[in-house]
Structure formats: C-alpha cells, structure tokens
C-alpha cells in the first residue's frame, strides 16, 4: 500500500499581488513587460516603476521578485543600496541640492543650511505641505557654476544663492495651485 508522503511544512507561496494598489500593479506589470527580456533587468525595472510612480511602494518588492524570479532579499537589497530609489512617496517637486566640493567652494554649505532651515526638513524628507522633497546630490555636473540645484530631473539651476533657492521653493509651491 502506497504511503501518502507527509507534506513538508512548506506554506503556499503568498500571492505577491495580494493587497497591492491597482496603480502599483499596473506600473509593475508595464515595467516587467518592457524590461524582462533584458540582461540584468532589475535596475531598468525599478527605474521604470519609479519613473511612473515617483517612488517604489513596499509591495513592489514581492511583485518584482516574483516577476524576475529573484528572492525578495535580492530586490530589497538592491533598492536599499541605491540612493536614487525612494521608499517613501516624494513631494510634488523634487529639489536636489549639490553638496560636493566644487559647489562647496562657492558656498554650498551655507546654502545647505539655509535650505534645511527654510523648509524645516533634513535631506530625504518632504516639506509639511507636500510641495518639496529635499534630496542631496554628490555632483550634478554643473561644477563650473555652483552652487547647483536640480529640480525634477529637468530644471538645472546655477549660482544658487539663498534668495534664488527661496524663489525655487516659491515656484514649487505656486505650481501646485
């Protein structure tokens, strides 16, 4: 008589999509579809998701791991290694301030102190009104005309004084209305 093997205590894999918001699911699916065939697809997939959502919500870890046949530890470890990947939702404008030497030579340290004071936040945080996320950059490549600030991967600013920084923040706040 055949003996029924005792099942090993292996829980059914959790459905990675369980509880994920529809927009996150759509972003992850699109990112996987567009990039799955590439060699070393993980970074392109993570970029595609963040480009669409602005950040990598927690449920992306299991979804991407499932989609690329990686462990969740692989995905989490990769996300946490790279400063570019955000694990918190950003404000509506992302203001990146250069803290590197060439900008230091032109007053970036003072600008940095000013930025933290007027926004009331540290690097990596978002202002209370949700308008501005302040991020640090170690070189924006505008070293001849520092201090440099990059807004939303789009607008690069040169020779940013505290007054000019205030104007950037004012624009960010007004853009919301």
């Amino acid at each position: 008589m055949a003996v029924e093997p005792i099942p090993l205590k292996a829980p059914r894999p959790r459905d990675p999509a369980a509880g994920a918001a529809p927009d996150v699911l759509a972003a992850v699916d699109a990112a996987l579809d567009a990039n799955r065939a590439r060699e070393g697809a993980l970074l392109p997939v993570l970029h595609a998701i963040q480009d669409r959502l602005g950040w990598l919500p927690p449920e992306t870890v299991a979804l991407v791991a499932h989609g690329l046949n990686l462990s969740r530890a692989d995905v989490h470890g990769t996300i946490s290694f790279y400063p570019h990947f955000r694990t918190h939702a950003p404000g509506r404008r992302i203001v990146r301030l250069c803290r590197a030497e060439a900008c230091q030579a032109l007053g970036a340290r003072e600008l940095e102190a000013h930025a933290r004071r007027v926004l009331g936040i540290d690097f990596g945080r978002t202002s209370a009104d949700g308008a501005v996320t302040l991020e640090a950059a170690y070189c924006l490549g505008n070293c001849g005309c520092g201090p440099a600030v990059l807004v939303d991967d789009d607008e690069l600013h040169a020779r940013v004084t505290p007054a000019a920084f205030d104007a950037i923040v004012r624009d960010a706040r007004e853009a919301l209305r």
């Binding site: 970074l43 470890g77 030497e101 060439a102 005309c145």
Partner: protein, 524 residues
Amino acid sequence: MSVRVHVPRDATALSLGAERTARAIAAEAARRGIAIELVRTGSRGLFWLEPLVEVEVASPAGATRIAYGPVGADDVAGLFAAGFLHGGEHALRIGRIEEQPYFARQERLVFARVGVVDPVDAADYAAHGGWRGLRNALAMAPAEVVQVVVDSGLRGRGGAAFPTGIKWRTVLDAPAAAVPADGVPRKYVVCNADEGDSGTFSDRMLMEGDPYCLIEGMAIAAHAVGATQGYVYLRSEYPHARRALEAAIAGAYAAGWLGADVGGSGRRFELELRIGAGAYVCGEETALLESLEGRRGQVRAKPPLPALRGLFGRPTVVNNVISFASVPAILERGAAWYRDFGSGRSRGTLPLQLAGNLRRTGLVEKAFGVTLRELLYDYGGGSLSGRPIRAVQVGGPLGAYLPESQFDLAIDYEAFAAIGAMLGHGGIVAFDDGVDMLEQARHAMAFCAAESCGKCTPCRIGSTRGVELIDRIRAGGARERDLALLEDLCRTMRHGSLCALGGLTPDPVLSALAHFGEDFARAP
C-alpha cells in the same frame, strides 16, 4: 535663405538661462517676420559667456560664426535691433570664438565638434567628419585596430590611466565566453559614464554635445575586440545627457551605424543605454558591472580582470567616455598624429575642467604638459571671489589638495603621481582662502562613509572612524595622539581597501593635513 542661429542645450548653459534665450530669439524673429533656423548645440565650454549665441554669417572665407554672450532673454530685442543676425556691433558681441585666447590656445581633438554640431543630427555629424574613424577601422583587421590604439599611447581617461590598447588586446585575445543562460559566446564593450567626481563634467559635455563621437568610439572598440553587445552606464544625475544619448543611439541605428550590419560591414554591434541609481562607487569598474547585472554595486576582487571575466563573466572592455571618444580621431588621422601631442608617457590631450571658485570656468582641452598655474590663472582668471586661491583639488573627491607651492606642477600622470597626487579625470576645483581644510578633510571621510559599498572593512568602518577622529581633533584635547591615529588609519585604508574609494580617500585627508596643518591646530 534663413539665418542659422546656434544656442546651446548643454546642461550648464540651460542652468544659466539658455532655454529662455532660445525662446526669446524665436519669438522676436517671429514678431519681426524674419526666418531663422535655430540650432541647439552643445556648449563651447566658456561658461562665463553662457548663454552663448552664435550666428552664422557669410564671409569671404565662407560661412563663419559670430558669437554673442552672455545673452539673457532681455538682451534679445536689442540684439535684433543691432542687426546681430548679420554680425552687427553690440556690447555683447565677442566675434569668432576660435579667436578667443581661451579657446585658440586649446588643442581640441576630442571636443572638436562639441558646441559646433547639432548633437542629435546624424547627418550633421557625418558632415563634420564623423564615422571616418569607424570606416577606417572596419577596413582593418581587429588586431591592426588594437595596434593603432596601442601606438597612439592613449591611456584610460577615467582616472586610472591604464593603456587603452593593452586592455583591448587582452579582450581581443580572450576567447568569447558563453554563459549557461543562453549558451551564446559573447564579449562586451561597456562605457563607464558614471562621472561622479565633483569638479568633472567633460563626459557630460561630450555626451550632450557630441554623443555620436562616443557611439563611434564604442563601435570601433567592438570591432577591435570582437564584441557584439555594448552598454553605456550613465549616472542618473545627468538627465540632459540621457536625452541626448537616447536620441543619438536611435539615430545611429536608423543610419545603420549600430545593429546587425554596422556601416555595411556585416558585423553586429548592439548598444543600449543603462541608467545608474546614485551610487558613486558604481564608477569603479567592477561595481559598475555588478550594477549592470542588476545587483547592489559592490566591488569585486581583482583578479580576474574584467577584460577576461567581466560582465556576466565574459570578456569585457570597460572604458571611460573620453577614452572612447578619443578613438575615432586616432583611427581617422593615425596613431602618430595623436602621439605627437603631450609629454613623457602622457600622450595626446586631456579635457581639463575648471571648476569651483574661478572666474572663467569651463572646459580646456590641452595636450599634457600645461601647468596647473597656467590653468588657474591664464585660463581660469584667478578666483571668482577675488581672494587668493588657497587650495586646489585635482582629480575629484579622492584627489589630493594642492597648495600654492605646487601650482607649477605639469599636467602629466607621472608628475602628479610623483608628489602623491593624481590627475584622475581632469577636474580642477579651486578654493579661496575662506576654505577650512579640516572641514574638507572631514568631508572626504564622510563622503567615503556615505558611498562605501560596504564590502571591505578599511573603507566601510575606517571612513566612519575617520569622521569621528577629525571631529575630536577639532574639539581639541589629545590632538597629537589623534593626529597620529588619523595617519595610522589612513595608512590602513590606503593599503587595506579593495578599491580606489577606500584606498584614495586618505589622499585628500593627508594632503590637507600636510599642507594646511594650521587648520587642524585651530581651536574650535
């Protein structure tokens, strides 16, 4: 015939208002009913004149460009009134850029087309001598191409200065390796465009101003070593370069210079752009390869060399943007032509980048041998603040701080190495006498602590201990003992770290201590 007006779309020019200027020119021309052709170029690299507008006018010697700058949006109506479309007189008129001493005294080999051509127009690239190097290379055997690069004396421009041709020969001689995933034997060409060093922007300017030159250089490398797949690993902090490269790669495919049949040669070369994610250490070649493979950017132990076991374990050429971009001209004009520039064992030209507290910052491509003092004063015009230049950091955040007594040093790999400094990627950052060198030393350690990949202990932990030590030195107390400990720590990091990040962080720290010791003795 419509007048051609050139306005840069380089990131630095944009940061100084070039987009507003371009829009104002288009609007004013429309208002006056004048037909103009607005061409968006890279930057000529004279940043104090940006936004620099160049108008093409007829002259007895053919079409020439008359420059005006810096042109703000508010200046545009006045320029039209002054007849600038025909080279008219105006307070902002500069004349021909080629006649400006800053420009005329340069040797622009790699940057010959930057600021001149429309960066994303493949036909314009061809019209300015593009693809000639690749054509010549495709008519040669791979080993012959490698020999030309060896003979040119070109050394890696990313910072390590390893002879490019020797690297290529290693990859050429390595058998293409298959991996279990697909069983296809393959070699790779990878461009390190993770230009993270503060004070450097030549890679960015080239990619924004002449991206086809990089693509051509990579295609030549692919032919020389037998590679079929290439990647450009670009840092995420360069969105403008990203857009230019995306357009140029698509343009090169459309024109048949990438793909299954490169330039009609029957050879395949596919090229893909990959974006980094803000990790400085990914500029180290093995960390970069890990990142391309989709992992944390942790440094690999060498050997094996990437040339033998690189991306996905296959033979891989990894070169910097400027190294690749130097190759088309070498293949076009020959190794001897390139070799004739430079001095000693440093051959050819280096695009130097003047940054920080200088009046005339920008890009200066010079043959090796020019002195730091010439660059700082003759080109740079001294400090922007008008105060004395106290310290200069060459070669990025891992480069030594040099005092005034060393400004007569020649730009030459060996001359820099002899005093314990490095040329790196050619970035030069000037500080005036307001700088606090203890703070700069602290920043070097803090930067290393933030960017360490964590693989080796001297870098991961040493940098954090370094910050704490420097804070203690500032606070006073057992200063002599702490200084001795700092030097000991630096020795450990230098000799015990796996890569240049931990290994070179002591350079800015110890040079600051050696040359600016008074800043370490000051009371808080």
